[in-house]
């Protein structure tokens, strides 16, 4: 059993860095996809959706990756706190923005994609 645990520890020490770096890159890619969505999506709500979901998820993956490469447990603890903060504020702010837009009377665009004309595609 002790041997098994030791070997698990060895394997973890071996994969820690590449795994962490890989997760960081994955998180960055998620954020990038979110940004593309913000530019490409047709109306306010879909854009907000793209921005908020990918940002929260991307930041979470980034933080997990950083936790893997972090040198000490204290850094992991700090990252956990940052994650908690992001996980609470990100969705809340998106909710507040969407809520305000909805109450202000901004209607979501519905219908087939081809039906939207060019100047309908943007929100101003």
């Amino acid at each position: 059993m002790a041997d098994f645990l030791a070997s698990v520890g060895d394997v973890f020490a071996l994969v820690r860095q590449p795994l962490g770096v890989g997760l960081c890159i994955a998180g960055a890619l998620l954020c990038l996809i979110g940004s593309v969505g913000v530019i490409r999506f047709p109306d306010f709500y879909t854009r907000l959706h793209a921005a908020s979901i990918t940002d929260t998820a991307g930041a979470s993956v980034l933080l997990v990756g950083m936790a893997f490469v972090s040198p000490t447990g204290w850094v992991v603890l700090k990252l956990v706190f940052i994650w908690l903060f992001l996980f609470m504020t990100g969705p809340t702010s998106s909710h507040a923005v969407a809520n305000a837009a909805y109450l202000a009377g901004l209607a979501p665009k519905t219908g087939r994609r081809g039906d939207l004309t060019d100047d309908e595609g943007g929100w101003s």
């Binding site: 609470m88 504020t89 809340t92 909710h95 809520n99 305000a100 109450l103 202000a104």
Partner: protein
Amino acid sequence: MSDPVAIEIAVFNVILLAMLFVVGAAVARLRSLFAIVMLTGAYSLLSAMWFVTLDAVDVAFTEAAVGAGVSTVLMLGAMLLTSRTAKADRRWARIGPLAVVLVTGSVLIYATTDMPAFGDPFSPANSYVGADYLVMTAADIDIPNIVTAVLSSYRGFDTLGETGVVFMAGIAVALLLGFGERSLSANRARGETAPVRTETKADKSDHHVVLRVVSRILIPVIGIYALYVHFHGELSAGGGFQAGVIISVAVVLYSLVFGIAAALDAVPVAFARGLAAFGVILYAGVGFYALTQGYNFLDYDAILSHGADAAGHHGDTNTHGQHIGIILIELGVLFAVAGSITTIYYAFAGRAPEIRDEDW
């Protein structure tokens, strides 16, 4: 420049500079004031990122909290009180400013040919006083964060002046715009009695419930974080300026979510005003205490000193006096900045009737 780290930093620089340029150009071209204000906040945030790559972590912290946070809030407040769009400019009217800007820019760029290279450790700016601070801090003051040491001890007089400027700006804004009591009368003019939070059952299940719950959790956390930033200012990035701004941000959040009337209940205007004044007095008081002990103004060795020897030298190598002095004056800065920024926010927020969702 062949060093991989230097190349990495150069790549960072180029990316961030390009983003700054894009944001700046967008601000110059846009007419919607709302977009302009938000982009100015983005500009501040980008420059905060750049400060981090240039090792200025304290500055980045301040810029992110003040430039991207508080300035944006204040500009939005002023925008709501004035207008939402700028007038279209005439095309020919751009020629004059453009010519002035081009001439000024080329003169400045010509002047950079005499400047020391980027990152040169032997440039005049990096040699004399700055290097001395780096070397002497460990022996003189014995705290790791040199920026805090210089800010509050070596250049404490400077910082006293700046705290005074922030305080005076707070008072001047309050004198120009009022202390914030107006919002109550504005609500009354709408036929409502303040505070606006009505307690009907329908209102409790309203659309702001998520915001309220999350803010209720977040505001104490923000307060604790401000205190952490304050008391760790000697060990890591942070200090009284940043902590004061964060505390006032908590007040801003509270008043945005629960209404200005509730915020005025929780943190009265008179309290914020008094806090600001008390901070400046505390800071200056430490200086005068040193004077009464026969030391120079703001020389913290006066605290916990064993007096001067016969020759008038204060040969005390103990740094505890410095530590206590720094804690006291950082508290003064914290109070002054938190009080002033809160007063300024109240002045803007209290000027107009409350912002409703329907107003947008």
